[in-house]
């Protein structure tokens, strides 16, 4: 999996939809919780997962689609890696 490429894709999505250029600054660490730091509101997780499945050519397991599993960059990348995500 192209980890750096997918990370940038997620940052671009955050910028394009929520933070308009500020996303990289808000994510001070890939380990921080996005809910706690106000980076993503709970309802936007559905939009994020739809985006990831469509753009990373992956079908994330239904059982793992919880906010906790996608609450932070490293958590998202880990789940994508486990599911065989790819770019392009």
């Amino acid at each position: 999996m192209d980890r750096a490429g997918i990370r940038q894709l997620i940052i671009d999505w955050l910028d394009d939809n929520h933070h308009f250029g500020d996303a990289e600054d808000l994510i001070t660490s890939d380990d921080i919780s996005w809910i706690e730091h106000g980076i993503l509101k709970s309802l936007a997780f559905v939009e994020l997962i739809l985006f990831l499945e469509d753009n990373c050519h992956v079908a994330l397991p239904r059982a793992e689609l919880t906010r906790e599993n996608f609450d932070g960059m490293n958590k998202i990348l880990r789940k994508l890696e486990e599911s065989g995500a790819r770019l392009g």
Binding site: D16, G21, S42, L43, F45, L50
Partner: protein, 489 residues
């Protein structure tokens, strides 16, 4: 018996003494909680105790079945379906059967058929909407292997029948409570102080705020609106918003406080919803445990499914909030209320999409969204929508709803509700409003600082302050206070 009535002051001390006599001993403590919970349930309606007992045993057995390693997937799925059908079937039978048959009769009459199905009058089991959703969450979580199976029937039954949350929630997920009661609990001073403080605050919101606003402002106006002026119509709706906040947030805090007295931390259910600047934010602050339940088990699975529903976010809002309305009660008014909230979320989402296009073109729009003017307008719109949509929530008959809305603009009545009749009542009203304002000011920087200073003050000072509040409450609050609005849901 309910958790704000006089009977509790006899029940609670006995429970606490028995419970803490076995400090650190799980079997004893859970046994006391279970017997107490079922006794609490029995006092509400002795003939319906079987409802919670049967549902508990069935879901415990289903959980064990689903969670067993090596079980064929088709068997697990069938067991999950059984749990869903039983739980929702039970809810429909007790809560909606009368409404279904009544609506069917109305429809047949409207179509010109002479059909009249008998309408059953069935007593609603206490807290059925709350423990049903809790148990459904358990079955789903175990099915997806997100939560471990609860091996002990005693622990499982204790979670379902934990009496502080029986009347009106919060909806407690298995992973929020079961791990806490799988070990013995030992008392700490902090636990008791935190519990007493939450209970007292909840009691003020319920017995002082909600139970005064109902009979003195809201009920008189809403039961005979044509007697009152347009301004009084508005006052009653705003008063109702404050009343149900006091009622439900108050109950939730009392439940959290009681939970702490037994060493159990229940989830937060309200987070200052009157500070919300959008309806999405409102639903992250109001009845949080229901909102997150609907999001996790309905909205998310629906809109992320592989089929037709995938990505239909707006339709998902409408459906989920229509069901959210129905969850509150079997009436078209509740459903209308839910749909109106769904519509608000759709409009907000669409507005958000449009605003994104502006932000992409020019970053000045990002800055504008952070200004005080934008925040104030957004806050006013969200709060106004919440207040106005309470009309169908409170008045279920569609014809009366239209009449009430008309009265908000044109009404020749001149009556005055009891809450505004005398100087003493006016003072009472003013103190309630002041309390609510101060309560919300604790969320500002200055208010938070002041509250933090109070919390850090020596115990005797805090004790005197709490004592004065209690004396005031004993003087002014009738201990025969009414039931909880949300207990009927």
């Amino acid at each position: 018996m309910s958790i704000h009535q006089v009977e509790l002051w006899f029940f609670l001390p006995v429970m606490l003494v028995l419970y803490w006599l076995g400090a650190g001993r799980r079997l004893w403590q859970n046994g006391v909680l279970l017997v107490g919970g079922w006794l609490f349930y029995w006092t509400w309606n002795p003939t319906l105790l079987w409802v919670i007992v049967a549902a508990t045993v069935l879901d415990y057995a289903i959980g064990r079945f689903i969670g067993t390693e090596g079980r064929p997937e088709s068997h697990r799925k069938a067991a999950l379906a059984l749990s869903v059908i039983y739980n929702l079937g039970q809810l429909c039978w007790f809560k909606y059967i009368g409404w279904f048959t009544g609506s069917f009769n109305d429809l047949m009459t409207a179509l010109g058929f002479e059909v009249s199905a008998p309408i059953l009058k069935i007593a609603l089991p206490l807290g059925i909407s709350y423990f049903t959703f809790g148990k459904l969450a358990y079955a789903i979580e175990v099915y997806y292997r997100r939560s471990p199976v609860c091996e002990s029937l005693l622990n499982f039954a204790t979670w379902v029948a934990f009496f502080p949350q029986l009347v009106a929630g919060p909806i407690v997920r298995p992973r929020q409570m079961i791990p806490q009661i799988e070990v013995g609990r030992r008392p700490t001073a902090k636990m008791f102080a935190g519990g007493a403080q939450a209970f007292l605050l909840g009691f003020i919101l319920k017995a002082y705020v909600a139970d005064w606003l109902g009979p003195n402002i809201v009920d008189p106006i809403m039961s005979a609106p044509t007697d009152y002026s347009a301004a009084m119509h508005w006052l009653a709706v705003v008063g109702y918003g404050l009343q149900i906040f006091g009622d439900f947030a108050g109950y939730s805090l009392m439940a959290i406080g009681l939970g702490r007295l037994f060493g159990v931390e229940l989830p937060e259910n309200f987070n200052f919803p009157f500070l919300s600047k959008s309806m999405m934010e409102f639903w992250r602050r109001w009845h949080i445990t229901l909102n997150t339940w609907l999001f996790d088990y309905l909205y998310g699975p629906l809109t992320l499914s592989r089929g037709w529903w995938r990505g239909r976010l707006d339709l998902g809002f409408l459906v989920v909030f229509a069901l959210c309305g129905l969850w509150h009660g079997a009436a078209w008014g509740f459903m209308l209320w839910g749909v109106l909230h769904g519509v608000a979320l759709v409009v907000e989402r669409r507005w958000g999409e449009y605003y994104k296009t502006l932000c992409r073109k020019d970053r000045v729009w990002v800055k504008r969204r952070k200004t005080r003017v934008y925040a104030f307008v957004a806050w006013a719109l969200a709060q106004s929508w919440f207040i106005v949509t309470l009309i169908p929530f409170r008045i279920h008959d569609v014809g009366n709803i239209a009449g009430y809305v008309q009265g908000m603009f044109v009404s020749a009545g001149s009556a005055v509700p009891p809450g505004l009749e005398s100087l003493r009542e006016l003072q009472h009203f003013a103190v309630i409003l002041l309390f609510l304002v101060v309560y919300h000011l604790t969320q500002t920087r200055l208010g938070g600082w002041a509250w933090g200073r109070f919390q850090a003050a020596p115990a005797p000072i805090r004790g005197v302050a709490y004592g004065l509040v209690l004396v005031y409450l004993f003087i002014y609050v009738p201990l025969s206070a009414g039931t909880f609005v949300y207990a009927n849901f």
